[in-house]
Structure formats: structure tokens, C-alpha cells
Symmetry: D2
Subunit: 335 residues, 4 copies
């Protein structure tokens, strides 16, 4: 933490800030500069947030110097985390494709899609049993019935399954059926859910909140790690911006920053970012090219009858095409 003083701050104001810092048991270190004084604060992990110093006389600004995350940081653990799900590994050197419908709608739908994505090359199956929907009048998912269908898909195809847990309450249930528990973008800062996920024996797929900074996202992962669960896969799914030609703006540079700051794997969800089918394949290629550890993509056997997100779900043959393109790209990128 660095307290930057006004150019015209008096000696008394400077001393007064130093005393205020020391009164909280912290160490203040004044740094005289060319035009003004700055005061470094050491050991500021205490309970009181020194941002309040901003309001003292003679203070121009208070700047945070150190990132607040610890366990998720590469400084803390330099080697990449590999998350294992059955025989599948997610992270360092691997590229994992997760595919399936937005929502599980019926046994026949889920099984049909499960078989075709497996055939095409997916490593995990996705499908929503509990659907967080903006409107209370929209299809909300089949609930436990949907989870049972997911288990059937796993049994039949051998693909581990990923599904979203909507809240703390349903966690036990979801954990019992799913191989990977997804925490959705809207829940990225539902802290009791994060704490429960920290006690889970399942890997967690943690989506980035629609307006979360990378720091906030890594802090959400910190909750899970701090709770004892080291198996976290981050997922960028588009951020909210003024741009209105895609549902959200896919922030691919987040992959690079996460890989620099953290040891956790990071994958991309092009379907929710785009919100329209025609953007999904090219944005997936971009995600592979930037170096993400995988993709999570929506696929439906009859998109025009899908109960949710039909407009962004790939047709089966498109998904096959995508898998082939990914394979070719990967071969070039990892010599």
C-alpha cells in the first residue's frame, strides 16, 4: 500500500499520516520523491483496510501495490495445476473439449447428444439440470431428474459430466451425480457456495462473473482453495461491455493474464460469450490459438427445438467440424 501525498502537503500532514498508520500497528516508510512524498505501508494484512487513509488531510491517493490473492498465485505455487477428472487431465499441455446441450431436456435428447459429441471427440459432457434463468417464466431445468439422466449419459458414453450447481443447498445433490461441479457466472461471488465448493471432493469449474476483474475472479477461486479444494478450472465466458453485436465480449487476453498470475487451468466458453451460433466456431479457434486449456461448447441435436439457448447451440455436424479444426490447430501450436 502506498499513500501518495499532495505536492503541497505540509510536514505536519505527512507526520500525521505516519502516526495514523503506526496507530494501527503497521509500519510506515516515507519515500521523499522529486515533487512529493509517498509513504509505503508494510505488513498491511491486518483487519483494517488502509483505504480510509485516502480521506486524511494532505493525502492525494492511496494505491494498492500487492495483489490480495495468495494460494491461487503462481508466486505461491509456480507449477501448473493439473485437474484430473477420470482419465481426463485439464491444464498444462492438455486441451480439453467439454460439449453438450445447454439444458438436459429428456433422456433421449441427452443420450443422443452425448453419443454424438463423444463420437466427434469431446472429453467431457455438459448439460444443465438446474438452469439459472433471467425470467421466472422460462424453463428452469429438470432438477434431480436431469442429474439422473446425466449419470446415464456418463454410463453409456464413458464421458465424465459437468453440470451447474445453482446454490449451496443443491450442492450435495449435484456433487453426488456430477464429475465436475460448475459455479456459474452469476454465482461467482456467492461466497457460501464458494465455501461449500472448497470442501468438495469434486473439481470445480468456476466461471468468471460478467463484470468481474481478474483479481476478483482469482479471489473467488482463493475461497475454494482456502477451503481445501485445489481442483479448480477457471472459465472465461465473456464480459459485459457497451458492444451489442455479441451477447458479451469474449476477453481472450484473460487467458494470458491468468496463466501468468496463477497456476490454475483456464478454458473458454465461446457459446455464452457469442450468444449466436455463427460466431462459435471462429471464436473457438481463437481460444485455441491464444493458448487456453480447453473449450466448453453448447451442442444440440435439434437446436430449433431447444428449450434454452437454441440460437447459440451448434448442429452436430458443426461440432464435428469444430473438433477437427481444433485438432489441426493444436498440432501446429504444440510442436
Amino acid at each position: 500500500m502506498l499513500v501518495v501525498m499532495d505536492q503541497n502537503a505540509s510536514q505536519e500532514e505527512i507526520s500525521s499520516v505516519v502516526r495514523a498508520i503506526e496507530a494501527q500497528g503497521l509500519v510506515a516508510r516515507p519515500i521523499p520523491g522529486g515533487q512529493r512524498v509517498a509513504i509505503g505501508i508494510l505488513h498491511n494484512q491486518g483487519p483494517v483496510d488502509p483505504l480510509w487513509l485516502r480521506e486524511l488531510p494532505g493525502v492525494k491517493e492511496v494505491i494498492r501495490v500487492t495483489k490480495p490473492y495468495k494460494l491461487v498465485s503462481r508466486e505461491c505455487k509456480p507449477a501448473d495445476t493439473l485437474v484430473h477428472v477420470g482419465d481426463v487431465s485439464i491444464g498444462n499441455g492438455h486441451h480439453t473439449i467439454i460439449a453438450g446441450p445447454c439444458a438436459v431436456e429428456s433422456e433421449s435428447q441427452a443420450l443422443a447428444i452425448g453419443r454424438l459429441v463423444k463420437e466427434a471427440g469431446a472429453h467431457l459432457f455438459r448439460g444443465g439440470a438446474f438452469k439459472p434463468r433471467t425470467s421466472p417464466y422460462s424453463f428452469q431445468g429438470l432438477g434431480e431428474e436431469g442429474l439422473k439422466i446425466l449419470a446415464q449419459v456418463r454410463d453409456e458414453t464413458g464421458l465424465p459430466v459437468v453440470t451447474e450447481d445453482p446454490d449451496h443447498e443443491a450442492f450435495d445433490l449435484v456433487e453426488a451425480y456430477a464429475d465436475v461441479v460448475q459455479i456459474g457466472a452469476r454465482n461467482m461471488q456467492s461466497f457460501s457456495l464458494l465455501r461449500r465448493a472448497g470442501q468438495s471432493h469434486r473439481p470445480i469449474l468456476l466461471k468468471r462473473g460478467m463484470s468481474a476483474t481478474i483479481e476478483e475472479w482469482l479471489m473467488a477461486a482463493e475461497y475454494i482453495l482456502e477451503g481445501g479444494n485445489p481442483n479448480i478450472v477457471l472459465c472465461e465466458r465473456g464480459i459485459r461491455t457497451f458492444a451489442d453485436h455479441s451477447r458479451n465480449t469474449l476477453d481472450l487476453s484473460a487467458v494470458l493474464v491468468v496463466q501468468k498470475e496463477s497456476h490454475l487451468p483456464i478454458i473458454i466458453d465461446p457459446s455464452h460469450a457469442a450468444g449466436r451460433r455463427s460466431q462459435v466456431i471462429p471464436m473457438s479457434r481463437a481460444a485455441v490459438a491464444v493458448g487456453a486449456h480447453g473449450l466448453i461448447v453448447e451442442v444440440h441435436n435439434v437446436p430449433e427445438k431447444a428449450l434454452s439457448d437454441g440460437g447459440q447451440s451448434l448442429y452436430p455436424e458443426q461440432f464435428e467440424d469444430l473438433c477437427q479444426q481444433v485438432q489441426v490447430l493444436r498440432r501446429q501450436l504444440t510442436p
Copy 2:
């Protein structure tokens, strides 16, 4: 819903879109225009989202015409909703001030602040017992102990209390102590929490999500209303933008749009939007001037020792000043 066709769309493409609409049991109404055809869709409240039409050949765009909210809309209920909390009324013609510390830290702190905000003119007391914090290492609130202290503040000052419920699980507990249950910005789309709030006998203070459109916010309120609870107070608390000189950007025009679209009362939280004390009083004045139904403000007796948000909490004398300024302004604005 309006399907806008390409200027060069063939007659066959147009017919094909009409057939696709009708195949879903909806009514298609082609509207020939100067340069292109548009096709209106009537009765599109079915389970399938017609946005998928966007991907059909010859389709340029699909435009939503009708807002998805019903019960929260003024079209559905033209008269303003008045929310009653004890003797206090929130909404139409009233201006309500809610004040207190960010977090309940101790009995003596809460009581001291409770007395002083009551004295200065607050109508309700606020204070967090469960604190959603970005970092797992920050002070997380006193939990039930905090709720008991809130009850004491109510007993002693006569002020009804508002406190945040962090999740579905804690709802029963919070509901038992609080007069108004707050749903925080990060939980605006925690749908199981919204459904639980819909069954509550307590009024709900629903904060706008940091990147929520007004439509999404009203849809969150729709969940609560649809569940059976008509007592909702909306609260604008700043949105996330590129601007970095305040914590968030207070979107005061939201007050006007909400008041036009909905019958629900709307108040302003200048403290969280600003993130720094010096902006709180002037932004509060602006909130009153724009016509909001009230304010929720952070006040602390010793801000520099606050365990959270000290930098944005008003000093007692500043809060008195604010209350006087509000009174004067209100007198002028409501002749």
C-alpha cells in the same frame, strides 16, 4: 418479436421463416416495408425462445419488441407500491433514510451509531451481520451474534433494521431478526434466494447487480413478486464502467426509468457507488433531486477503526448535515 429480413431475401426464404414460426404454434405476420420485409411474431410466450430464428437463411436480425416483465410493470399495476415497515412507508411521496455502519462490529458500536442516526433523522437502521467479502481473509461479519445486536438496536432506538441475507440457507435466520431483508448486488441473480424471498413476509431490499440492465433487475424483482411477496424496494448502487475515479458509476437515470416502467419504490446507495466519503453527501443530494424514494448510507462513529468500508462511512456530524440538507431539498422539491 420482430424478424427483420435481408433486403435481398428471396420469397422462399420469407415463406420458410413464416413456416418455422408457425411450426412452433406461434402466429407470423409479414410486414412488407420500403426496402425489406419484417415478420412480426404474436403470442411468443411459449417455451422456445424465438431468438434462434436469427440463424435462418435470409434473416438479418431478430428484435425483441415486448419487455419480459409482467407483475413488476406499471402496465400491470399502474399505482405506486408503498412498502410499510413498522410506521415507516417507503415509496410514492415519501423519502426514507436508512443509515448505519457497513458491518455490525460490536454491541457498543452498533448502539452508539443507532442512537446517533436516529437522533439525526434516519428512519431505518442498517448494519451487516453476514458480510460478503471479496477476500476470504477479510472480516466476514458476526453472523447470528450480529443479528441479535441489530434486534437490540431496534429495541433501544425504535428504528426498524435492514440487513443483508447472504444466501438461501441463512434466510430463515435473517428473516427472524430483520425488518427488511436485503439482497446484495452480487446475489441479484441468485434465483433460489429470490424464490425464497418471494415467500417471505418481510419486505425485500433488492440491490441492482453491478452490471445488470434495468430489465434484468426488474426480472429479478419479478421472481420475488411472482413468489407472492409484493413488498420490494429497489436500490441502485452504482454500475461497473471504465471510470476509475469512483468505485462504481452511480446511474441516477435508473430512478427515472424504474419509476416509469414499474410501480416499485427505488432508493439510492451513494456510499457503495462512491467508495469514498467525500463524494457521499453531494451524490446523496443528487439522488434526492432526481426524485429517488430514499437513501441508504453508511455511517460510523469511528470510521478509521471500521472493520470494513471505513473510507466511505460518514462521520456522525456529516450524517447530521446530510439529513438537514435532505430535508431542505425535499421541502423545495415537493411543493
Copy 3:
């Protein structure tokens, strides 16, 4: 400038950063902290931007400590700047209302509106002669003909006139007719225009760019001041955000930050921020309440026939109402 080192940075990496700083003639001052070293850079006003240090081995981050603006800053000139236009003063303690049509459309239109806004209480007249329009097919203004009409309005009403200069080329012409030359939001970083404005004997109304930070905005003003023209009025007119219920999001906290950081006056344009008439009066009240030094508002005698921005222009009687409300508010706010 502060270079923050990795927690695990080696002594050699630290020394190497120090040497790189010194190689550019700057002073490096290492600050050992609890967990990591930071290195302060003194006297970094040289030609080379030290941000490149970010890419050196062992460097975690480079943080700017000092704001780049000088002449516009309150540190440089503590007293408020008062801008004089004829008998009107803009700034400290004054509240100035600028009103008129979006575009000058004809002599009769401009004169009619000029008379009525004068009558209602406006201090300056506004009207566009050169209209920057998103579409080449829209009405582009009357050009010099429009400037002549503006001069007529001034002659007849006694109101000084404000009009936008679209580019460097037209500056001489606009300067010859206008009392205040406006630089529009889209031109906030047209640097040759700013340099020309710096040599003008006219006050400049400098609108904030739609996505400009306050720092960038003040730096644009710095160009004008540095060129020799101290008479600048800043104007906040809404920023671009994800919110779609107003044309832009009016950022009222900018008023507070500008008044803290700079000595220049700042006014608000509620018409362009809102983009719809119904929001203009309440947002104007909010602007007054927050403490802006004035308003610039669009008024039209027959808005439904306006050649631009008809939907956001006030009717004459609404403008009268606004002026009365402003007067009442001002009386309360400045005891």
C-alpha cells in the same frame, strides 16, 4: 512511478531493474517491504515511458504514482478559475445556464428560441452551425450561414453564444462569430484542434469524450492551457456503458473529482446524456444538487419538427419550469 517486483525476484533481477532505470538518467530508490521489494523512480519526466520496465525479468507490475497533468491541476493553481463571457461569469459560486436548439435551422427558429430562453433565464445561447453527425446522410448544419444567425441572436437578445467548432480548419470562422467555442466529445482528443484552441482569445467549452477517463480529459485541457488559453469550461455529457436505458450514463461524480483535482469550472449536459426529453429536468436538478457550475440544455420551439435531437429537446414551457426549479434549488444550496 513504482516498479513492484515478484515475491521471488532474485537480487540480480532487482539490481538489473535498478541499472535499467539509471541507464535512462532516472533515479531508482529500492523500498524493501514485508514480502517483496518495490523500486521507486524519481524524476521520470523524461522522454522515455518507464512502462516498458513491466517486461523485465522479475517485474510484477509498474504503477504510475503521479498524475501527468500540471497546469490544470489544483496543486499548480489552488484558486478556482472564473471564466468570463461578456457579463457572465462561469465557475466558483456561479451557476450558468446555456440553452438553445441542437442545430440552428433558420433565422426565425433561432430567434424565437433565443428570445424564449432569454426570457426564461438562460445566460448564454447555444446552437450548432456545424453538426457532427454519425451519418453522412443527416442534416449537417447551416455552416457559416448558421454562425451569422447566431450573431443575430446575440444582437437581439444580448445573450453570448456558444457553438461547436468541428475541426481545426473552421476554427477561425467559428472564433470570429462565437463567444465561446465548443469542442465536442468526439473531438476531445483531436490534438491539432486543442492546440489551435490554446491560441484562441475565446473561452473553450471542452466536452468529455464518451469513453475518456478524467485524467485523459484533464490532459486534453492541459493542451489548451499549455498553448496559452486559460479560459476553459469542462462539460460532462455522459459516458458509454452497457446501460441501454439512456443514451449515455451521466457520471455526476466526475464533477466532484474535477473540482478536487482541478481549478477549472465544470458544467453538465443532461440532454445528450439522456437522449430523451423526459429525463432532462430531473437529471438537471441532480446536476445542480451535486454542485456543478452550470447546465447546457437543448430547447426547441417545435421539437417534433427539429432537424436533429428533437426527442431530447425541451419544450419552451418545460425550460421555464427547469429555470425556476434551478433557482429554487440554488437558493437552498448556497446559504
Copy 4:
């Protein structure tokens, strides 16, 4: 244009909107729906913007149905535009790499970089002679001296040169030396500059404004096309969002939308979007993978001595590496 009426709008209100539309010489076509009436407006290319209808009694919303651009649209010209610069073609099926320093600093610097980017595989040389800088105290470019050096680079390497024109005034000069004239992001809506570019015999590289929608960007290109110059290359360079881990957020989906809506080529500038060297190569790969028609990249022989943007300029060997990666990727993507 579609006027959506309130659910409770009276027949009189509906008729009144119809009359208002017809009073402006437009055609109104009421469309009775399930719950409300909408009124289509045909032939609304007149001078008055029908958005003002939004404020009439009984009107809920006014929705634009048709995009305002004409000449830039694929509806108007279905075949891809190929822009020719010397022997180089930009657009459909081609992938063009433009590289060079941010600013021309000296003859020896420019020639050294010109030779090495040519050697590595660049098709055009870039270099700024007039530098738009946020600060008046930063290096502003060598001006005409810089243009002359660019011509030398062309003579010696055979690479056509791209350089930014800062304003209308300098256009003749820049046009005399450059093979492609760049209009920067800050000038995307400097309309007199766009009009001048419309009369140029040089191709124009038009960068997207930092907060421009695709519609606004295409309208800027429409100015140039409408002026008579069909040779335009669009360039996405990152948009302003809340994300702070890159200078701007590169919006790669813009490539897909531009290619669908328009016949103009579109390239990517990863250097300015990223603002830091380490992100440039992976984001370039993503740009190639998404299908952009090319890249414009900053390269410097001694980045740590660069007078601007040193932190984001590639080292020579990095640029060679990039060119090879691009070649490999392109081979896979275009079978």
C-alpha cells in the same frame, strides 16, 4: 422504425401517433399484436428523426429496425472488397502483415526496422510521423521529416508504407508520402477528416474508436465511401471496458460481424489493444484464427529506448517468430 405502444394505450393515442407519422410525409402501418399495438414506419429516410415519437402519449418505445449504413453494407455490394497497395492485396483470401515502430524516430532506426520486418515477412511498413499523444509533453513525432524517412524506407525495402494522418490539414502532406493513410481511433468520428479521406486516391486504414459500436464504425466508413473512395481497410484495436489487465479489450467477434455486414476487409491491431509485449503474439494468433484479413503490429529494434510504446513493441526475433507462426496457422486454416 417500429413504434411500440403501451398495453393500455387508448385508440385515440394510437390514432394520434399515426397522424403524427403521416404529418411528416411517412407511411404508418399499425400492427395489432397479442397484447399491444405496434406501428411500423415505412420510408423513414427523411430529415426528421422519428425517435422523437418516443415522447408521445401512449408510446412505450421506438425501435430502429433498419441499419443506417448503405454503401458499406454487404446488402449493397455482396462481393468482398479487395484493397490494392502496390503489389499487395488486402482482403478476401489474403492475410496481410503490417509492421514497424510506433513512431519514426530517426532515419537509422526506421531503416533498421524496415529491413528486418521486410526480411521476416511483413507486407507493409508502419511508422508514425505525427503522433497523437495524450500528453502535450510527450514526443509528438518528427512530422514531415518523419514522412521523408518513411519514403526512404519504402525506396530501400520496397514495402509500401502506412502512416497516421492526425487531422484534415495535414492530409495533403501525408497523402503525398504514404501509400495508405491511417485514421486513428481518436479520429474515427472527425467528420471533416473522413470527408477529406473520401476524396483521396490513397487507401484508408480506419481504426475503430475506443468506444464505437460496429454501426458507428461502419457509418464512419460510409462517409469515406460516400465521398468516392472505395478503398478502406477497417482495423479493430480494442475497446474500452472495465477490464484493467490489458490496455483495451480486443473484440475479436467484431471481425465476424463486420465480415457479415460489410464487404470491407478488416485487420487487427494487437499491440494497442494489449499495451504490453507479452500479449501480442498470442493475441495475433487468435486474430489469425478468427479469420481477420491481417495484422498491424509494433516492432522496434531497441524497445527499451523507444520514444513511445516501447513496452508493447516486439523485439526483432519475436516478430520473426510471429511471422512464422502466422504462416503455419494460415496454411491450416485455408485448405
